[in-house]
Amino acid sequence: MSILAIDTATQVSSVAVADEGKLSAELTMQARLTHSETLMPHIEQVLRMAAVKKEELAGIAVSIGPGSFTGLRIGLAAAKAMAYTLGLPIVGVSTLKALAYHVPVPGVRIVSLLDAQKGNAYVESYRWEQGTLSVVDAVEVAKVTDIVAHCARIAEPVLLTGDVVQKKIIGKMELPAGVMTAPGQYPDAAGSLCGHARPGRAQSRPSGQCHGYRAGLYPPQ
């Protein structure tokens, strides 16, 4: 019961396949190629790497933004056409939430930031409680500087994640005490898979975990 996940919300192109919560294969690239050029060859390749036939898929997860206008439309058009042709259920996953699924750490405020241009970011904050990700402050657009300043007033440790961290924060901004940046700041398909696999979101299996702690930085709680 494999799920195919697609993320084309940022300049990173990412495709992954998971089977019952196990990440079988993933291809994440940040090259100078457009999503239009890379997406279908990557889907083909990831399915081959995972040794899963497209006819064997049980569902498709796709990131639905916020993110790049054209990138999202490429991913969505491909996901919809594939789901239609293969008769599969399709699940949209918030790109911000997909980022937070990579950091399954309790006792921390996770703040996901995605570029909204002109010094602004889409921002949403989360907390893990008993293995469930819950939204603390719902999505809005704010100035990156204001978001960072606001983080200083949060009582618990803050972990910033998202493309804005690399683009606008690391090395460019003094971070207040208790505010840290997460490694791997780009959303990817593995994150979307986690979102898909969460209870209440899934229209089909798999259940369970497929967190993005591939780097071994964050052990599962």
């Binding site: 279908m40 206008f69 439309r73 491909a78 919809k80 594939m82």
Partner: protein
Amino acid sequence: MEKNQEEILTLAIESSCDETSAAVLRGGREVLANIISTQIPVHQKFGGVVPEIASRKHIVNIMPVIDECIRTAGVSLKDIDQVAVTYGPGLVGALLVGVSAAKSLAFSLGVPLIGVNHLEGHIFANFLSTPKLEPPFMALVVSGGHTALVDVRGYNHFKMMGQTRDDAAGEAFDKIARVMGLPYPGGPRIDALAKEGNPLAIDFPQALTEKGNFEFSFSGLKSAVLNYINSEKMKGHELNKPDIAASFQHSVIEVLVGKAFQAVKEAGRDTLVLAGGVAANSGLESRLREEAAKRGVNFSYPSKILCTGQCRHDRLPRLLSGSGRPLQRPVSQCSAGAWS
């Protein structure tokens, strides 16, 4: 088991501008279904196509349009032998929706994907109206979105002789019609009005007429007509709309006719084909016919149902497979390789 060429089922998708459309064709000439979702009323409010809104609408409409098309055609998805899609020219964001969906459909069905140049779609309309037509020939493509001279050297070999540097001829027709208070779409209205006017009454400019230049420019002409209308209004003169329409149309037609026959001569062709929405303009058609007869050149133009009013992108899917021949070229990357 190889399917007979006449039995091949093509699913064609077009999303280059403000219409999402899909068609199912059998053997390249038989249209089993053609479903169109137009966004014209949405864009009309803004006086033109808004690219972001177009992309948004395409992503919403594309799967329902394809689904309705398959059902109307009475075929099963798994019977589709190939997928064709317009890859350009057009609005990039809009095109990408159709191209991404088409690539994904082709992959999911395990069939080839064929990229079709939008101008080819217009040109191949002529294969439906003139069954005996065969390359090589010179094509004059005139529509709401394009003005181009294309040397069609073979079914898969095209050479762009020249295209518009700024406005397409059709855009100029619409803009001037709007200023004269004529309802949308303006092209046919100006054509009708021009029949009652004197084409030599007002001396409007003709751009880039030097020999050997196959590019077009209509923005200067458009401004000249608009300035003329404004100054007449300022002087309190009653507008002689038939004369304005006739004189404007005369300028457009003379440029198109002059360059078209120059291109025919330069490329050594014996046939000129008129394609695109503005091909329905009777003044243009009759001038080309007259000039062709005088020069001993064959002249072909599509039947009006295929080129009324505007660019008529909605007609394109049925044209995408044209004679059935252009689709032999697999374009997995959708590159314009056959164009030189």
